[in-house]
């Protein structure tokens, strides 16, 4: 019996057809993966199921009955819950307040007063049940991106939905967390729930799902059972050509002795006075990619903030090609040849409510070919945008539209285009391929390697261990705000790094100083 079925479901944005007569069917108690390139229309389809978008035409059948879903509340009432690609949490509220938002627990059924203790207990129970790592009383704004994701999932689980839609849930989780999540999802399936997962990681598709639907440019191009397919076949279906699934850093380490980027003894504290970075020292040579591995929330975000001018050091020195840039503003850092791919693309990298063109120049809006005598050269900016869109294969529905309308992966490509095209000498790339499709990952990885091969330096921060391992020339591992080891990716295995990431020292890690 199919629990969700769509018949010729179509969604148009103006002239642009994001979903073109989609027919899918999800069986009860199965895990269904939806895959497809960036901008294929996956999120659009799910948003229609969740009532966030109205179909232009076509029908949705829930439990084989035609249903009009009037909004998220309605969807939840129908037992259908969704966790978004971009979080929808209240940053200033705590974890438990967010989970119980709209479903607050009162002292008694008539009392208007919220029973905090009961709420915290309830959420604690929920967290323990699913073995999530969260403190219910932490504020959302203080927890890592990964933690926020977990809150989003819990929020739905709390509401007892029996169909759970997850839009790229694993993009932000660490490998261990992904494993845990999968255990949970499989457990949920065993309890009779149906789960739809969007992901770009084919390895996960193979591991998790029962069946797969492939969407390409708004149309369904494949419906297969997972046991009958392979990663290569799926990749082929998605992209329409063969894809190199992991771009290997094969080149011999040609790194010169010249130091491009030096970080010495950097410390910093967060807003609450907690020391989040302790004596961080490393250097990146010319022609080298230095990877930073670590479980999310071990100081990587803060390190990136300090290095990109968004947070001040309390001690230490940072220099680019010998020039001291400690605590410099982001614009001065960029003038000194630093390119930045930020961690949270919608907060620091892009402005969703500004046009694509305006986003293409952000951070470089003072350079002479864009800005003359304080005036912006609109024509040049449009040319620049058109070039980016073409060269980086950015799929846009409406070229004059806002960045907020782009799919997640395509939005990321705007940042990639902008930062690479400004010819930096040093690149700080933070989660550069989060939420990006396999074809584009291949592309971005090649860009990073090319950039390195031209003699530039890259600092790569990623919670995606395979990304760090396949691209880096050297890896440092962060744990609790410190660097606890330096490794060569060619000499160690995944599991050895994994141990180090968990804070367990082994003797292969040289330069460790605990």
């Amino acid at each position: 019996m199919s629990i969700i079925k769509t018949i010729d479901l179509t969604k148009k944005f103006g002239d642009f057809t994001a979903n073109d007569r989609i027919n899918i069917s999800v069986e009860k108690q199965e895990i269904k993966c939806i895959v497809g390139e960036n901008g294929a229309g996956k999120s659009t389809l799910m948003n229609m199921l969740y009532g966030l978008l109205r179909p232009t035409s076509g029908k949705i059948l829930l439990h084989e009955k035609e249903t009009v879903i009037n909004g998220p509340m309605d969807a939840i009432a129908h037992g259908l819950g969704m966790v978004h690609q971009h979080f929808k949490l209240v940053p200033s509220l705590t974890v438990y307040e967010n989970i119980l938002l709209g479903a607050e627990l009162k002292k008694s059924s008539k009392s208007p007063i919220i029973d905090r203790k009961k709420e915290i207990d309830e959420v604690k129970k929920l967290i323990e049940k699913y073995k999530f790592e969260l403190d219910p009383t932490d504020k959302i704004e203080d927890i890592s991106v990964g933690g926020r994701q977990r809150v989003e999932i819990l929020k739905m689980l709390y509401r007892n939905v029996d169909i759970l839609i997850l839009d790229e849930p694993t993009a932000v989780l660490t490998p261990q967390e992904v494993d845990e999540l999968f255990v949970n999802l499989k457990e949920l399936r065993a309890q009779g729930k149906t789960i739809i997962v969007i992901t770009h990681k084919l390895r996960e598709v193979m591991e998790l799902s029962d069946s797969v639907t492939v969407i390409k440019q708004g149309k369904v191009v494949g419906n297969v059972l997972t046991k009958d397919t392979s990663e290569e076949e799926l990749a082929q279906m998605m992209v329409g050509r063969e894809v190199v699934l992991t771009v290997q850093n094969t080149a011999e380490n040609k790194a010169s002795e010249e130091i491009a980027y030096q970080v010495e003894d950097v410390c910093t504290i967060n807003d609450y006075g907690k020391e989040v970075l302790q004596n961080i020292s490393f250097c990146v040579h010319k022609g080298e990619i230095l990877g930073v591995a670590g479980v999310e929330g071990n100081g990587q975000s803060e390190l990136v903030k300090v290095l990109t001018g968004l947070m001040k050091t309390t001690k230490g020195k940072v220099s680019i090609y010998g020039k001291d840039v400690t605590d410099k503003w982001p614009d001065e850092l960029r003038q000194n040849g630093l390119g930045i791919i930020p961690e949270d693309r919608y907060a620091q990298g892009l402005c969703g409510t500004m046009s694509i063109a305006d986003n293409c120049i952000a951070g470089y809006h003072s350079v002479p070919d864009v800005c003359k005598f304080g005036l912006l050269d609109r024509k040049n900016i449009s040319c620049k945008r058109d070039r980016f869109v073409k060269d980086f294969d950015i799929r846009v529905g409406d070229i004059n539209g806002n960045v907020g309308q782009l799919s997640g992966g395509n939005a990321q490509k705007i940042i990639i285009a902008r930062e690479f095209e400004s010819n930096p000498k040093l690149l700080i790339a933070c989660q550069p391929t989060r939420g990006v499709d396999i074809g584009s990952i291949e592309f971005i990885h090649k860009q990073i390697l090319d950039f390195r091969n031209k003699g530039n330096a890259v600092l790569l921060i990623s919670s995606e261990l395979s990304e760090v391992m396949s691209l880096s020339d050297r890896i440092i591992v962060m744990y609790k705000g410190r660097i606890i080891g330096e490794l060569s990716p060619k000499e160690v295995s995944r599991s050895e790094i994994g141990l180090l990431m968990a804070g367990i020292q082994n003797n292969k890690a040289k330069g460790a100083f605990i």
């Binding site: 109205r54 620091q348 409510t353």
Partner: protein, 362 residues
């Protein structure tokens, strides 16, 4: 997309005005007059006769400036509510300088000097909340709002004390010297001041739409974290915006002094005050310079037309205040809608299957 946006903005501004006129019309009907005739007099005299139109432009001049002064900060989500106070201070001291000038001074020099004094006063007064906001994170809305009242009282004190013109029967400062007054063109009230306002408008149009600063202002308004991360020094930009805003307010005050009032009285900027009018105009104009220009002229037409209503019909001129109030009310509805999407929801319930997305940000 752009065109749709523009259309939507037009509707957002025109609809409140139309609704206000409709309800105002009902009020006029209840008085027992013909609303169409009344509106005909109201707008006909102030927009469709040469003299009336020139007078309308004259009264629009300070409104264009205060509207722009508001918009430049509001667009960045910085709220300079102190335009009124900055305007009054600028006006007061340009008036004082205007009276104490030697009568032999070249008029151009005298006028420039007075304008400069107005601008400087506006800027200095705007700097107080600007510094507090940019470097100490004090909420600028509260500070600017409160300082208005402080300034009104300070000026009242000065006008009733040291600077009082005792030859006059009521509280005011001495009339400015002739060489500091803007001469009128023909038999209308229009002066140089209008052209100064237009010049400023053109400059601000370029700044807001074509310049790097305008780009940064927009970015700061839409996403401050993004602005900071892409290298816009937000606190520095706040200072610049407040300085521009203060300068425009001061200029508006000085110009109004030199083209209309010629002395500071306790009701110098009228009721509710040119600075507050500017806020309404900025909202009506959707914070865009062209919109503000149109809104200022329209609003001024209402003001000048009010006197004609008194002359040519039995409808009290206060009907214009009623209409102004209603415009504000309906403009406010727009904000309610922006935050709750009420219109979308009502619309959806009725038609059942609209095309538009419920939440586009997903």
């Amino acid at each position: 997309m752009k065109r749709m946006d523009f259309g939507k903005r037009l509707v957002n501004s025109v609809l409140p005005v139309l609704l206000a006129f409709v309800i105002g019309g009902i009020v006029i009907l209840m008085i027992g007059e013909n609303p169409l005739d009344t509106y005909g007099i109201l707008l006909g005299k102030s927009l469709f006769t040469v003299k009336g139109f020139l007078n309308t432009l004259h009264y629009a001049s300070p409104l264009i400036l205060t509207g722009l002064a508001i918009a430049v900060t509001f667009k960045a989500n910085i709220f300079n509510m102190g335009v009124e106070g900055q305007l009054l201070l600028g006006a007061f001291f340009s008036g004082i300088v205007g009276t104490s000038l030697p009568a032999s001074l070249n008029p151009a020099a005298a006028q420039l000097l007075c304008l400069a004094v107005g601008v400087i006063c506006g800027v200095v007064f705007a700097l107080v909340p600007a510094i507090l906001k940019a470097y100490c994170h004090v909420n600028e809305m509260v500070v600017t709002l409160m300082l208005n009242y402080a300034m009104i009282k300070v000026l009242e004190f000065l006008a009733t004390g040291v600077f009082r013109d005792y030859s006059s029967g009521y509280v005011c400062t001495p009339i400015i010297k002739e060489n500091a007054m803007f001469p009128r063109f023909g038999n209308s009230k229009l002066t140089m001041f209008f052209f100064i306002a237009i010049l400023v408008f053109i400059v601000m149009y370029v700044v807001m739409n074509k310049s790097k600063l305008g780009y940064e202002i927009t970015a700061i308004g839409k996403n401050p974290e993004f602005a900071e991360a892409t290298g816009m020094k937000v606190h520095k930009k706040i200072m610049i915006m407040m300085i521009i805003s203060g300068a425009l307010s001061g200029l508006a005050g000085a110009g109004y002094m030199m083209s209309e009032q010629f002395k500071y009285t306790l009701s110098f900027s009228g009721n509710p005050g040119l600075g507050w009018d500017g806020m309404l105009i900025a909202l009506l104009g959707g914070h865009s310079p062209v919109g503000i220009l149109v809104a200022a002229i329209f609003y001024s037409a209402l003001k000048t037309g009010a006197d004609h209503i008194n002359l040519y019909s039995t409808v009290p001129k206060e009907i214009v205040s009623v209409i102004q109030g209603l415009i504000i009310l309906f403009l406010a509805v727009k904000f309610v809608d922006e935050h709750t999407n009420i219109r979308e929801k009502l619309f959806r319930k009725k038609t059942g299957k609209p095309e538009t997305a419920i939440s586009e940000e997903a």
